[in-house]
């Protein structure tokens, strides 16, 4: 039944899309604050997911691992900003690019040493048995629903934080105009650290949510990072809303490609489709679909 199939692909695409959206959001957070593209975001997420898996194996408690992963993501994000990113600020942009790529290689190497290079399966919080409505499979499981809810809730909490709190205003001010922010007494360096911590949290969330479907190994987040990056560029690197929409669009598009083409061709086609979308968006709207008035840092 084509309609059912379409529905299945769409729902499953939304579930994956939310994970891409989480990665995309973390990239946008960092980009807005520091104008750095964090190529290590996937690596950081991989590392915190390994920490989560160790915690789960030792405590036999999924939620303990889940919470530890998010906390570790914040700590890792803040630590990276303070130790390796801060010295690159105010230097040519390429410096930061190289530093984050170096960080990625470092994290993947460390993960291999500490946790081993073999594929490990990551548990889920809820059943991955497909949900059915009056006998018709929907193509998604309870866990997929959890994925969507978890990312959605995190995104909304962040949105409220940014929009309605003094801390959020400090972050927005620092991102839009660091000079004015500093002259007004905002400790911009501290604010940027918080931004990296929140990005680390989002990445860690994505890592924990995606790893049941990808297995966990030192390079396991590379592809997810590329999709998240694509989603962020589709939405416009400056737009949090764009990141979420970009993630969903990409998730659904890739799901259709994989689903309708099928087999190993479909599976191998998805990265290509993602890159194709990236190229098209960059050609038509280089600033992304959600680029508003040009935002410029003075």
């Amino acid at each position: 039944m084509p309609v059912v199939e379409f529905l299945q692909f769409t729902l499953s695409g939304i579930s994956f899309g939310m994970i891409y959206a989480a990665i995309a959001l973390s990239l946008v957070l960092i980009w807005r604050g520091t104008r750095v593209l964090n190529y290590a975001q996937g690596g950081m997420a991989m590392f915190t997911t390994f920490i989560a898996i160790e915690v789960i194996y030792h405590t036999h408690n999924y939620w303990a691992g889940f919470v530890v992963a998010l906390a570790a993501g914040m700590v890792l994000g803040a630590a990276c900003e303070i130790t390796v990113i801060r010295p690159t600020l105010g230097r040519p942009p390429l410096n930061a690019v190289i530093v984050t790529i170096g960080l990625l290689i470092l994290l993947e190497g460390l993960a291999g040493i500490l946790f081993g290079g073999q594929y490990r399966s990551f548990p889920t919080a809820f059943s991955i048995t497909g949900l059915k409505v009056s006998g018709t499979p929907l193509g998604v499981s309870r866990f997929d629903v959890f994925v969507v809810v978890a990312v959605l809730v995190t995104t909304l909490v962040l949105a409220v934080l940014f929009r309605y709190t003094a801390a959020g205003l400090r972050m927005r001010a620092a991102a839009f105009n660091a000079t004015i922010a500093r002259l007004s007494g905002i400790r911009v360096a501290r604010v940027l650290t918080v931004g990296w911590a929140l990005a680390g949290l989002l990445g860690a969330l994505a890592g924990v949510l995606v790893s049941p479907s990808t297995f966990l190994y030192p390079n396991s987040m590379d592809a997810i990072f590329v999709y998240g990056f694509t989603a962020a560029v589709i939405g416009g690197l400056d737009s949090p809303a764009g990141a979420v929409v970009g993630g969903l669009l990409l998730g659904v598009a890739l799901s259709y490609a994989g689903g309708y083409v099928g087999g190993s061709v479909g599976a191998n086609l998805t990265p290509l489709i993602a890159l194709g979308i990236l190229v098209v968006v960059l050609m038509i709207r280089p600033d992304g679909l959600f680029a508003g008035a040009r935002m410029r840092r003075v």
């Binding site: 927005r172 922010a181 500093r182 002259l183 007494g185 905002i186």
Partner: protein, 343 residues
């Protein structure tokens, strides 16, 4: 929205009249730059610059493009780190501190180019001005923000009465509205209204120690600026990008005032404004000095209009001070005008 009777308690713990032990510079709001050297990379933009801005008056800093005027302000506010020299805020050397610290010490810098944050609303832009205030809530035990000009001057007419008003008071909060405290008219700044002792409505806020008091003090401070700059009040929920040039200038000055500075550094506030609006801005600058007792350092390309409102003038050329005198004296010096001021 503002303080109230309980303020008396606060006086005891040191706002109002006791700004003297605020650490920095309570005894005077004068700004003295001594032997300042600053630059960018190989370029020396300021070479042994010495400038004194007396407390409560307007000092104009003049000179051609590239003379070092903007760098002087940036070095004072900490955006450029001075290589040598001192920046004395009422006797305390703040040279080498970060901008975040310097605004807390009492120097607010309004940079060139109507620097609003267009992506934020008018009110958000204004709230940014209060980010230098002590954190609310959890850290409630800290001191209220260092108070303004009035702090030092409590001596003026009403030092003693200061207790009952004053949220983290401003400029001029306690002492200053010099002559015109009572006038309260449309043009007179709300501070004047405060100054004359009418604690506005609601006493309840009770000092800034509690989170609620802090919030009330912030709301009161915002209201004060809205009263002073009515067009901003009407557009508080609008994005700052929708403001006209003159309104943007109001917004950045209001934002700077919300930091409760003793010294205000203004970089080309009239740049790009229509003549009529420019006159209004100049008028505002005069009032901030005369009525609020702010020490103002005014950088201007337009030397004629700057000298017309300034008390003192300093002329920079290629990073050095070439003249420093009372404003009328500079304006009367034909050779100087021709050489450096272009009028």
């Amino acid at each position: 929205m503002s303080s109230g009777p309980e303020g008396a308690g606060r006086e005891a713990d040191g706002s109002g009249g006791r700004a003297d032990d605020d650490g920095v510079a309570a005894a005077s709001a004068s700004l003295a730059v001594e032997g300042l050297v600053a630059g960018y990379g190989e370029v020396i933009a300021l070479d042994e610059v010495t400038v004194t801005a007396e407390a409560g008056v307007i000092t104009a800093v003049l000179g051609a493009n590239g003379a070092g005027k903007t760098t002087l302000l940036r070095a004072v506010s900490g955006l450029v780190r001075p290589r040598r020299g001192r920046v004395l805020l009422g006797g305390t050397d703040v040279a080498g501190r970060s901008p975040e610290q310097i605004v807390r010490a009492g120097i607010a810098h309004v940079p060139e180019g109507q620097g609003v944050i267009p992506e934020l609303t008018v009110e958000e832009n204004l709230r940014i001005g209060m980010m230098s205030w002590p954190a609310r809530g959890i850290w409630g035990g800290r001191k209220p923000p260092p108070r303004g000009v009035g702090g030092d001057g409590s001596s003026r007419e009403q030092g003693g009465s200061g207790g009952d008003r004053s949220p983290p008071r401003g400029v001029g909060g306690d002492g200053s509205p010099r002559e015109q405290g009572g006038s309260g008219g449309d043009r007179s700044p709300p501070r004047g209204v405060w100054g004359d002792g009418s604690p506005r409505e609601q006493g309840g806020s009770g000092g800034d120690r509690s989170p609620r008091g802090n919030r009330a003090a912030r709301a009161a401070a915002l209201d004060e600026e809205y009263a002073r700059f009515k067009p901003l009040a009407d557009r508080r929920r609008k994005l700052a990008s929708t403001l006209s040039g003159g309104e943007r200038q109001m917004l950045v000055i209001a934002r700077a005032l919300l930091a409760r500075p003793r010294v205000l550094l203004l970089d080309e506030p009239s740049l790009g404004l229509a003549p009529r609006v420019m006159a209004q801005v100049m008028d505002l600058v005069v009032r901030l000095s005369r009525e609020d007792g702010l020490t103002i350092v005014l950088v201007e390309q337009n030397a004629r209009s700057a000298l017309s409102i300034a008390d003192h003038g300093v002329v920079l050329n290629l990073g050095r001070v070439v003249a420093s005198a009372a404003a009328p004296t500079l304006a009367a010096d034909v050779a100087l005008r021709h050489h450096y001021l272009g009028f």
